[in-house]
């Protein structure tokens, strides 16, 4: 269940960034963490990592790998967000929207990222393949066979 929600969260986070790469690049730049030459490459690639990993989680494909990807990303997001909250930068999150008018970063966002990270770890270590594509197709639940 956690796996499905986490996957859906990543899918919905990735799509707006693909729609508006320039807007997302600005959000990445505004974090003032990456060197300028790296900003656009990250802005172009990151949403696809989110989408692919999110889709894998939703369909239950390569779950340990995609859960690891998602956990590493969330750890990075949480660190970047926390660092900028700490130094008091007035920037937008760029998490689920690329619009400059969307929410400014707050501690609430940090809490959200932190809990998502924990759910990533939970999926990584405790997912039993329920509701996965293969179990749905076979009409079985793999957890009963192990």
């Amino acid at each position: 269940m956690v796996r499905l929600v986490l996957g859906a969260v990543f899918l919905s986070a990735g799509i707006p960034k693909i729609v508006d790469p320039a807007g997302f690049a600005l959000a990445v730049y505004n974090y003032h963490i990456l060197p300028a030459w790296l900003v656009n490459m990250v802005a172009v690639s990151l949403p696809w990592i989110e989408i692919v990993a999110g889709a894998c989680l939703v369909f239950g494909l390569w779950v340990p790998g995609s859960a690891l990807v998602v956990s590493v990303l969330l750890l990075a997001f949480t660190t970047a967000l926390g660092f900028n909250l700490y130094r008091g930068l007035d920037i937008t999150c760029g998490c689920f929207s690329t619009s400059p008018g969307s929410g400014k970063i707050t501690w609430w966002y940090l809490l959200r990222d932190g809990s998502l990270f924990l759910s990533g770890l939970l999926v990584l270590f405790a997912d039993r393949g329920r509701f996965s594509l293969s179990s749905v197709l076979q009409g079985t639940d793999r957890s009963h066979h192990s």
Partner: protein, 164 residues
Amino acid sequence: MRRFFVQPAPGRAFVSAAAIACAAVAFGLLFNAIRPSGIPLVGDWSARALTELNAGDVKSVNADEAFDLYSRGQALFVDARDPASYRGGHLPGAVNIGPDDVDERPEEVRTLLGNGRVLIAYCHDVDCPLATKIARRLHDLGARRIVVLPEGWAGWLDRGFPHE
């Protein structure tokens, strides 16, 4: 009893994580290369480019261009900083009006817009958003000849240009 925590094979998780990430990055780069709205892989994040990005239709000038306009009597500076900073020193002949003052001081805004000179908005330096904001506001209100001086007060002083 079934164990709650399955033992993942750590090596395999890393391998498939790397594979997923690489495939996604490759796809992202490819997609960006073929889509019409793709962005350059290395972006221009210089001060001027950033200001123009935020300023929409409003163009920007550097300190030399601003000084040139000023010395030909074609420029009117708009100081978007707070009144205390303005009193501490500003560009010659600058009018002090911030983005939040626009609604409260319609008379002054009308005078500005009716002025035949090029309005040059500035604030402290490139990291300050006020100049861009006021320029956009005035532009939306009908000012056609308005530009931003991204280097702002700090850049103007650096060049040793006159101030009051």
